[in-house]
Subunit: 197 residues, 2 copies
């Protein structure tokens, strides 16, 4: 059997992969992680379940790839214009838009709550997705600290948690609206905490 | 039929009530909210399920009362020694102890995640429990603001979210340890953000 695919086969594979990802994200938002099955994903994607099992060992693996493919590399590096507050506000406003979009937020909510109840899923999954996002902020703040825009004694990781924790909490527990005003205020307060005196 | 109970009957009722609360909190931590049933609570508590249905219309109602009874009124008012940072550190250290105690954290985790996936439960339940806790902090910070220890332009509610959001996130997503050092650092950073210049 040939190990190299024809261009047509590659296109078909890519189409199937995309259909599987879309199906997985839709379904987990609709039925929750517990009730998600490979069979269900296959049916929704219009592929055989063998196609899925050939590429991924579990539903968790499919979802992890689906989320990573969707997020692309866009979240891994924050902009750096030299104006930390402006950069943070820009990125958080984009995040507000994302979390107010049911297409994005439903699967993410299903996973976040499944992860909270399932330590193994959490470690392999929520931690991986979440850490990628957190790391981009940590890196940006670390650069600002090197540049002298953040006080020497500030623990950058904790500062990032003070920025993202309130956002994630409001979203997950629906304790308040996710608005630009909210995230701008968070950034302004954080800047007062971290800016050298 | 008499509407007044004898002292013995009152004691028996109180004992049953306590047994039902303990059973509900244990069980929700063990099996999760979805699989929790009135029948299961009754069996664990050693009471008939009619006893439960006589007092509560649903499992959500039982749990809400069980949590409220457990929390007592202790969390509704924060200490006020005049030293805001010291008061916040004291309360948050006690909260660290609570959330590191499996007996407390397992049912709370089950409820928090069930609430995140179920808007109605969330509104009636997570919001009610959570708002009580948040309100105590908001009240304490509002008093500090009146006393001039917090800058005029600080939105007290957002400041509280910056304090509690990172804590709840670490706990729920297991993204870091809950330690006194962590909560002390949160308080120190927050004080830098809110203290008048």
């Amino acid at each position: 059997m040939a190990t190299t695919k024809t261009p047509d086969a590659t296109r078909r594979s890519e189409r199937s992969r995309r259909a599987i990802f879309d199906a997985a994200l839709e379904l987990v938002g609709e039925v929750g992680y517990d009730k998600l099955t490979i069979e269900g994903i296959a049916a929704r994607a219009g592929v055989g379940k063998q196609t899925i099992y050939r590429w991924w060992p579990s539903k968790a693996a499919v979802l992890l790839d689906a989320f990573t493919a969707d997020a692309g590399d866009t979240e891994n590096v924050l902009p750096d214009t030299g104006d930390l507050a402006a950069d943070l506000k820009l990125v958080l406003r984009a995040t507000v838009d994302e979390f107010n979009d049911p297409k994005f937020e439903a699967p993410y909510r299903a996973l976040a709550t499944a992860g909270a109840n399932d330590r193994e899923l959490s470690e392999q999954f929520v931690a991986k997705l979440q850490d990628t996002g957190v790391k981009a902020y940590v890196d940006r703040l670390a650069k600002a600290k090197e540049a002298g825009h953040i006080a020497e004694d500030v623990e950058v990781r904790i500062a990032v948690e003070m920025l993202l924790g309130p956002f994630t909490q409001r979203w997950l527990m629906r304790t308040g609206p996710l608005t630009y005003d909210f995230t701008d205020t968070l950034v302004d307060l954080l800047m007062r905490a971290v800016t050298p005196r």
